[in-house]
């Protein structure tokens, strides 16, 4: 209620309900194990209450947190004012543990709902969301790999806001190349190690919101092999935790400095020095050394999905604000009488080019949200079929694995582009700090960089995911699209667009074959040049498919709506779904075929280029 600061976050709950219930049929999973306690009413109530929560508590701190930023004073980082209250409120409301296993005090909700509550938390205040986000990610690693004693000591505290958490991979010499890590762990017995090293860029690395912070640190045990396979993961708390669970003396972990950044300024990005006084005690996660990378991958999978969600969240924020502004700002005359200075000025949303920008933003935001939802739907199906149908579990898990790099990279690349379009939609006001979209653009840029740059994602897709299970995951994806095309390409409204999708799917499958051929014929050098574009092709195919599937549902719903004023709002909603899909299919989807043509040229000019040829400076 202390609304000196204004909330600018908004969400289109109708669109979210459409995705959940009409397109992804969440209803068919509810009420059955493991979602027994969830029904439609609960889901709807959570949507309403979570939306209200983020608008009242997190949204008003978004701009102020950006302006104020973080401070480092006497070795202690101070987060922006108000964040501590928001932290307490968030953990009191318990949204972070919505999908957590009830055995650990969570509510066991479907991931489809969780990605929406996460979208709301992040969209309302991205910088704030980093702190609980990392705490939760780190807790999940301990839940999965920790010993019983470690779970006892840390898990509940980290899930419910008593302790924060971080993931410490990056070092000055080890960014994308995590295996170059120089941090060292020296065994001192009893599962304990002395850690020395410097980690940089550590999000949520320090703050005053929690009474302790649990750092998960990648380091190499003395004598372990070089590269990623010699890395182990350690629990390194800011304050040592006594056997009875109370917080003890300070550990030798110190904040060297905090970064001054382009965006997410309310999120502390820290240089952390471990063992400057040779007294930094950590314990191995689990009991086996050299498992650090695979353990961290669990965290990273979840974190990569979260970054994709961050992308949709901020893009949606920017789009809905631009839409509001476009309906309000009056400028210019209608095209038909543009020379007449006496005609009343129209709202800029009446101008064709502004509508084009808005529709591009809408189709991307809703398309990527659908892609995130599809991934979450596969996760839910994995949970649903586990122990009942191994084949289905394998199929759904395969799609999860395949879609993670798409959600992360496409979601984050497009988020920045949507923010840029939102600024353009505002005109000059968009560049001004009184309006919220410039911050959205600054906040969104990092999404394509952290959690593995988007090129690392693209290499993960083409180098690892395409070939996974003998290529089965990709084949299943392509054949799902082909089935949709075959069933719907004679659709009276969407037929032409669905045929275009068929063309894209063939181009994509052809390109996958070409990649394979490059691998087999020793032309691996071409792969990284094509990887980002391939990831984009696959993402655009997936997004177009999901948008057209939504449009198919919308067209059916339109036919069933009664005529008249009563259903005007619903009609407008479904028309919106239809036009967003048609726009994307006509204006973006043809890129897929074009990209395949470009890649077929096998251009190597970036490689042929002499390094000295880039410039003479």
């Amino acid at each position: 209620m202390s609304t000196q600061a204004q909330n600018r976050y908004k969400a289109d709950l109708r669109e979210i309900r459409f995705l959940l219930f009409e397109q992804f049929k969440l209803g068919s999973l509810l009420g059955q194990a493991p979602f027994d306690s969830w029904g439609t009413d609960e889901v709807n109530m959570v949507l309403d209450q979570a939306y209200k929560f983020v608008c009242d508590v997190l949204g008003p701190l978004n701009q102020s947190g950006d302006r104020e930023g973080c401070r480092l004073e006497n070795g202690q980082v101070h987060e922006p004012s108000g964040f501590k209250g928001a932290w307490d409120a968030l953990y009191e409301a318990q949204y972070k543990t919505i999908a957590t296993d009830p055995a650990h005090g969570g509510q066991g909700a479907p991931h489809m709902l969780q990605v929406i509550t996460e979208e709301m938390i992040t969209g309302a205040n991205t910088a704030f969301s980093m702190y609980p986000g990392l705490a939760y990610g780190a807790a999940e690693v301990i839940q999965q790999f920790g010993t019983a004693a470690q779970k006892d000591r840390y898990l509940h505290a980290m899930m419910f806001g008593k302790y924060g958490g971080t993931m410490c991979l990056t070092e000055p010499h080890a960014g994308s190349d995590v295996g170059s890590s120089r941090s060292v762990a020296k065994k001192i017995g009893d599962g304990k190690y002395k850690i020395t090293g410097t980690k940089i860029f550590i999000s949520a690395g320090d703050h005053t919101m929690a009474e302790n912070i649990v750092h998960l640190v990648l380091a190499r045990v003395e004598g372990a092999p070089a590269g990623t396979k010699g890395l182990s993961l350690f629990i390194v708390p800011k304050f040592r935790v006594n056997d009875d669970g109370t917080v003890g003396a300070r550990n030798d972990v110190n904040v060297g400095s905090i970064e001054h950044k382009m965006g997410i300024n309310g999120s502390a990005t820290c240089v952390l020095n471990f063992g400057e006084n040779d007294d930094c005690i950590g314990e191995l996660v689990g009991t086996t050394e050299n498992m650090g990378m695979s353990q961290m991958f669990l965290l990273m999978n979840g974190a990569r999905i979260s970054v994709g969600v961050q992308g949709v969240a901020v893009a949606s924020f920017a789009y809905l604000n631009a839409l509001e502004y476009a309906k309000d700002r009056k400028q210019g005359a209608p095209m038909t009488s543009w020379k007449d200075p006496t005609v009343p000025r129209v709202a800029i949303i009446e101008h064709a080019d502004v509508r084009r920008m808005l529709l591009e933003m809408k189709s991307k935001v809703e398309g990527i949200r659908a892609l995130v939802m599809k991934l979450a739907c596969h996760q839910d199906n994995v949970r649903f079929y586990r122990g009942k149908d191994d084949e289905k579990v394998a199929y759904h898990q395969g799609q999860v694995d395949l879609l993670v790099p798409l959600v992360k990279a496409y979601g984050s690349d497009q988020a920045f582009r949507v923010c840029e379009l939102a600024i353009q939609t505002y005109g000059g006001a968009g560049y001004i700090k009184d309006y919220p979209v410039e911050q959205a653009a600054r906040d969104a840029k990092v999404f394509s960089i952290y959690e593995g740059t988007n090129h690392i994602q693209a290499m993960d897709l083409v180098g690892r995911k395409l070939g996974q299970h003998g290529g089965k995951n990709l084949q299943a994806f392509v054949s799902d699209v082909a089935t949709f095309v075959a069933q719907n390409d004679k659709h009276p409204v969407l037929g032409a667009a669905i045929k275009e999708l068929g063309g894209a799917q063939e181009a994509l499958a052809g390109m996958a074959m070409r990649l394979l051929m490059w691998f087999q014929t020793g032309r691996i050098a071409l792969v990284p040049l094509a990887a980002n574009r391939f990831l984009e092709m696959m993402s655009e195919t997936a997004v177009a498919w999901l948008l057209l599937d939504g449009a198919r549902i919308a067209v059916d719903a339109l036919a069933a709506l009664p005529a008249g004023e009563e259903s005007a709002r619903e009609r407008a909603f479904y028309e919106g779904k239809k036009h967003a899909a048609l726009f994307f299919a006509r204006n973006v989807l043809p890129n897929v075929k074009k990209s395949a043509e470009i890649l077929a040229l096998e251009d190597q000019s970036p490689l042929d280029m002499p390094t000295d040829g880039f410039a003479t400076v």
Binding site: Q94, S567, A568
Partner: protein, 275 residues
Amino acid sequence: MKILVPLKRVADPDNANKVKIPASGATIETTGLEWKPNPFDEYALEAALRLTEDGKAPKVRAGEVVVVTFGPKETETTLRAALATGADRAIRVDAADDKLDGHLVARALKALVEREKPDLVLMGKQAVDGDSNQVGQILAEQLDYPMATFAATMKEEAGGLLVGREVDGGVITLRVKFPAVVTVDLRIVAPTSVYSMKTAPAFKYNDGVRFAALPAIMAAKKKPLAEVKLADLAADQGLRVTYHGFQAPPARKAGIKVKDVTDLVNRLKNEAKAL
């Protein structure tokens, strides 16, 4: 203490431009509107919850809050949200939105109060849709209960409340004896506005209304929600207010520049007829 809190859902005031009137002007189009609980009713609920707990963490219930709304089946969403926020029990009086007015609601509430026998009826000072500001007053009159409107503070005493009322130019303090009707204003949800006899004098609430915690949302379905027929509460369902038609306010016309003060006065007199 037992408190009855009437709740009304209203069209989302932040999206007031979505309220549409069909060409016939016969009704206000309500399908597809986004509904929210009336903010003043939410403040009343928050105040009621504060009066019925001891204020310490973990909050322990020490009394009963019953919420009631009038409306079709969908209005149960509003009640469930109130149950998730902490109310103990809910009643929906089945009624059609456009077959209600303030007087009828007050008459029906009177019958409900006689059944439920709460110590206190705590309600919003007004609903932000019609802004009528009358149900509380009519109800108190009908029940012949003491009443305090526009409460900004409440302090429980033995058998009653000390109520700080917002009035022009300040706050006036009234002592009301139970059973009573109190309507609340915005400031009732400030950190130190409400004290039960159990709340430590130094205790401060979070500013504003509380949020429903996830486990409480999940448990809300298990709390009792009863349906009552309007006819059981009000034999006479006649309306005192009848609507003859609805019209959107006229769009604001562009302003004009006046030459000088004389011109301004002339126009105010002859065109705007404001002088």
